[in-house]
């Protein structure tokens, strides 16, 4: 229905109602009812007109028309616009004011009712939308719901393109009752255009494009056909904004869900990897255990002077070497790339040192390690297993590079913020060219090490990785007070002092 028709209809209503009332007045006059009744039914006419037409204008027009009619038909002299009795002028005046007020009140009340109805309708639309959106399990479902409800609201075809990060771009379009999926090619261009957009929408060849922004980035573009009625669009703008906001929230939610699922998958992969490592360690340890145990047993069974003794000794030592390699590789893979957070607990450094030293002395029964610890006692956050491995590696390293009669010492002390552990020996020291490469992976000094003392350069790398993961420092240098090498590492006393 267009505007002109509406206007004409309102005028017809106005004339019709006043005409009917005038006829009724004539009947009243025939039966000689008092004139006041006629005045009252004209007021009724004004009220009816205000009720059934749009806007104030018709109400006021009807008030004037009513007075004219009353004057013309019902006051003497009849059928003229004159009055004999001047007191009628007051009657006209009061009638005019009363009818204008009545018409204004009625119209206002009507507008309020309409507004309330509109609001109710909007709330209903938004409610339906948000309940549908919260049922939507994926982004495509959100797009479908969005285009469906906007196209219903604006009575035109609407499309929506998803351009967010969690999924390939999708374009869903609603044309009348059908939904069409299209492919999008120029996503980058769209994202660029809309990300820099300053206006609230963009008009292009065939549509108005409204961007949907998420918490972090552009999520989608809602495209509304240019054929939409501009007035309708303007009227519903507020509602449209609320819809867009709802859609953005729904998309954000789904993006977060997708991200969570991805994170979970990643964690599962990590734990699968950890399981694989555990089973590898199991598989390697068991046969090593067999080799070491059997060779040990054979050594016991055989005469000490039997030449096979040294061969058996060789088997045992190689197996032992393999064993420590397995331990080292496991420690390394546990922390290096996996972003695995090391499990720190409050530990006593003296216990960890004690455990490492007793391990070393079991493997090298002919060596004695000097241990110096302070009287005071502090608990330090660390992964004790890994720190034990660090100390074992440092001591092992020291044993490799010293003669049996040369001292190896491990000492520790606390400063205000950290615990310092030093391992120093009286051995050959570190060659000048090795100093800068000490902690490089697979670097082995190629100086006078016999084959039996071989290492593959993993030991110190692990030390560095572990200490860094704890937020501490590690250094290696030659001693200044005597010959020999000195390795020092520190661990922060307080949690969270990492990355300083």
């Amino acid at each position: 229905m267009n505007k002109k028709n509406e206007w004409l209809l309102d005028v017809l209503k106005l004339i019709g109602i006043v005409f009917l009332i005038t006829v009724l007045g004539q009947i009243f006059k025939q039966y000689e009812f008092p004139e006041t009744n006629i005045v009252v039914i004209y007021l009724l006419a004004v009220l009816l007109v205000a009720r059934f037409t749009n806007g104030y204008t018709y109400g006021i027009l009807s008030a004037i028309l009513s007075i004219v009619c009353f004057n013309y038909f019902f006051t003497a002299p009849y059928h003229t616009l004159f009055v004999n009795d001047p007191s009628y002028l007051i009657t006209f005046f009061i009638m005019l004011i009363t009818s204008i007020l009545t018409s204004a009140l009625t119209t206002k009340e009507k507008l309020m009712t309409k507004e309330a109805n509109d609001k109710g309708e909007e709330t209903q639309i938004l409610y339906n939308l948000s309940s549908k959106l919260s049922d939507a399990a994926d982004l495509e479902a959100v797009l479908k719901v969005t285009v469906e409800s906007i196209s219903q609201l604006l009575q035109t075809s609407v499309g929506c393109i998803y351009v967010g990060e969690q999924k390939n771009p999708v374009y869903v379009q609603q044309i009348e009752d059908r939904q069409i999926h299209r492919t999008v090619t120029n996503v980058d261009e769209i994202v660029k255009t809309y990300t820099n957009l300053r206006e609230e929408y963009l008009e292009d060849l065939d549509s108005f494009g409204f961007p949907v922004y998420g918490k972090e980035h552009l999520l989608a573009i809602i495209k509304i056909d240019l054929k939409v009625e501009i007035d309708c669009l303007k009227q519903k703008k507020k509602l449209l904004h609320s819809i867009i906001e709802n859609v953005s929230m729904a998309m954000d939610r789904i993006e977060i869900t997708i991200e969570r699922v991805k994170d979970k998958e990643k964690m599962e992969r990590e734990s699968q990897r950890a399981n694989l490592l555990r089973s590898i360690s199991h598989d390697l340890r068991t046969p090593l255990s067999g080799i070491m145990g059997t060779s040990e047993m054979l050594m016991d069974m055989m005469d000490k002077k039997d030449p096979s003794q040294s061969l058996l000794q060789g088997i045992y030592q190689d197996a032992d070497w393999l064993k420590s390699l397995v331990e080292n590789i496991l420690s390394l893979t546990r922390i290096q790339d996996g972003k695995v957070v090391i499990r720190k607990e409050m530990e006593a450094i003296e216990e960890v040192i004690g455990s490492a030293v007793s391990h070393i002395e079991r493997v090298h029964p002919y060596r004695e390690i000097q241990v110096e610890i302070p009287d005071e006692f502090c608990l330090v956050p660390m992964d004790a297993r890994l720190i034990e491995q660090v100390i074992i590696n440092l001591l092992d390293n020291a044993i490799k590079h010293t003669k049996p009669e040369e001292n190896i010492t491990i000492s520790t002390y606390y400063t205000e913020k950290e615990v310092v552990v030093r391992v120093f020996d009286e051995g050959e020291g570190i060659a000048e060219e090795d100093l800068s490469n000490l902690f490089k992976i697979f670097y082995t000094s190629n100086t006078h090490l016999s084959d039996a003392k071989k290492g593959i350069g993993l030991g110190l790398t692990i030390c560095e990785t572990v200490i860094k993961a704890h937020g501490g420092t590690i250094t290696g240098k030659n001693r200044t007070d005597s010959k020999g090498a000195e390795f020092t590492f520190t661990l922060p006393l307080k949690e969270g002092a990492n990355h300083v």
């Binding site: 199991h282 255990s289 067999g290 070491m292 145990g293 040990e296 216990e351 297993r385 520790t412």
Partner: protein, 240 residues
């Protein structure tokens, strides 16, 4: 001659051979089974004086075997496993295992653990009487007179706080045995302390400073990282 019987439940044939040979060499009667079910039925039929139990068995989890056997028997069980996980160790010990050996281990280590477990087993039996314990415990140069509540080292009295005394007493009663943090906390501090090992570590540090020459090279109470502590067992020297 009376021979103690040891049951070996281990699925790896090489390791089983090694253990069986070693043990027979040491004069034990040995029975080996390759899976949990056979192990349990062998225990039911023939009874054993000690069980060596691998945790990674083909037919069932070693922990299940442990629980099953613990339902009716308090025979010493030493768990043997290639899985070097502190938590698993602690769980096995808390659930009734007497000791835990991580593969690879040496024959000497194996024998030492077996001897401790057996000795412990025989000693425990008569002392479960509920009377007030006034035993004098001696280990190496350490002596604890539980009647007088006094501790001595090399014949010299040492001053321990009540907590330190209780801690040391617990270890003197269980020489050679690996006690988990959980067990120690429960026995000395009561259930409420749960997993708060910090208080235990501090008490241990102060006790060690009184009984050890060098607390970082303990002669008496050794640390098993992530699991607990074990008191080494010595020939007793009397300093009276």
């Amino acid at each position: 001659m009376f021979k103690e019987k040891i049951l070996v439940i281990e699925d790896d044939v090489q390791i089983q051979n090694f253990m069986v040979y070693t043990l027979e060499n040491e004069g034990f009667e040995v029975k080996g089974t390759l899976n949990g079910k056979d192990g349990i039925s062998c225990m039911i039929k023939e009874n054993a004086d000690l069980i060596l139990l691998d945790l990674g068995l083909p037919d069932m989890d070693g922990m299940q075997v442990l629980h099953k056997i613990r339902e009716w028997s308090d025979v010493p069980i030493i768990v043997v496993s290639a899985r070097d996980l502190d938590k698993e160790k602690a769980n096995a010990l808390d659930d009734g295992a007497d000791d835990y050996l991580t593969k690879p281990f040496s024959a000497t280590e194996l024998m030492a653990r077996i001897r401790v477990a057996l000795r412990h087993y025989y000693r425990m039996k008569p002392s479960e009487t509920g009377k007030e314990d006034t035993t004098v415990y001696v280990n190496g140069s350490l002596k604890l007179d539980n009647g007088a509540h006094l501790a001595y080292k090399d014949g010299q009295k040492i001053h321990l706080t009540p907590l330190e005394y209780k801690l040391l007493l617990l270890f003197m009663k269980n020489p050679g045995k690996l006690l988990t943090y959980h067990t120690i906390l429960k026995k000395i501090w009561g259930d409420g302390y749960g997993q708060d090992t910090q208080v235990l570590r501090s008490t241990m540090a102060s006790t060690r400073r009184k009984i050890e020459k060098n607390p970082a090279k303990p002669e008496y109470i050794e640390t098993e990282i992530g699991v607990g502590y074990r008191m080494k067992e010595y020939e007793s020297k009397d300093f009276d």
